[in-house]
Point group: C2
Chain length 226, copies 2
Amino acid sequence: MRVGVMGTGTVGRVIGARFAELGHDVTIGTRDVDALLARTEPDQMGNEPFASWSEKHPEVKVDTFAGAAASAELLVNATNGAGSLEAMRAAGEQNLDGKVLIDIANPLDVSAGMPPTLFVSNTDSLGEQIQRAFPAVKVVKALNTMNAHVMADPSLVAGGEHTVFVSGDDERAKGQVTEILRSFGWKHILDLGDITTARGTEMYLPLWLRIWGALGSGAFNVAVVQ
Amino acid sequence: MRVGVMGTGTVGRVIGARFAELGHDVTIGTRDVDALLARTEPDQMGNEPFASWSEKHPEVKVDTFAGAAASAELLVNATNGAGSLEAMRAAGEQNLDGKVLIDIANPLDVSAGMPPTLFVSNTDSLGEQIQRAFPAVKVVKALNTMNAHVMADPSLVAGGEHTVFVSGDDERAKGQVTEILRSFGWKHILDLGDITTARGTEMYLPLWLRIWGALGSGAFNVAVVQ
């Protein structure tokens, strides 16, 4: 499957490489390809420059948001939440409409320091904002509740005995995303309901951040147990 | 130990009865004892009238907020979050100051229907509001992330292999609450840090509500796994 991953940070890289490892044809999208590849300093999160990552992952192509979206059969939003709508607009409705979008982004606001707050929550969510702005895109919120390495390979934690959530309005799209999650190794996939339930998983982030702080490691997840 | 439980809903009843079962001297506090005992209809959550519950639990005393707090060595806030500060004011600073308060309340706002939103979140929390309003009370946020029956007896779910969080500024108070949680049967108690980390556990409620909806049962919890 041709997968277009928007976002060049840790999540975009790790998820992109995972899709490629599973045999998919992956293109990572960015605003300005030349500027991205010209950077020689680590990004603000301390990741190695994209160009050096890209050299190690020649199987993952790089293109503009529009270029990555145009040929994609499946889209992944792995951008910084604050830039997600802009990235989608740059990709262009004609390249997005009718497609399934796995929305991994969280509405984190780091402008007041750490830990971040959420720039939308409680009565709305980033997932809903994206769905409203692009009504012909089939938005499925998923994978936004754990770190990138655990997203891509849940067996890294507790033998994979933990939970990933999906939220979305389109049942077939959720079914397709569920199959993809299974291919990543996810065994426990909980469908929370329509896209408004993304409020739940996005509002979990403040707890996730404190658990991370308490454990001193992002290599964890929660298992819903009964 | 003498325990003063503020709140006569499900949480107050179940937690009060659990403390009594464990040998503590429990008084449940309410705004107006006569009015509470005069009610013959189920409450808005469908609970049986307090008077008939009370007849089955003669070991749990009932008093005003001030009366329940005055003699207590340990306080529990099991009120509706919207009424917590008012209940604390009715209890009176002189009856609260210097004591440990287990704050179970959540800032749920049901005024716009279900599922509820939060009336404080993101940059503040109910736990912090209570701590600021009563700086001499040792507030420990705990048990606000599962239903009352699971709070009181974690063995009801997955053999007790799941997680309860504690947040608070006073290390000795958190140590005391940790001992109490162990006496309830909690095996996995995660200290998230100071009272600001209550933002995390309170903001988890919207996810908790959606998981409840997806599972069709409140008899669940999350286990933090590594």
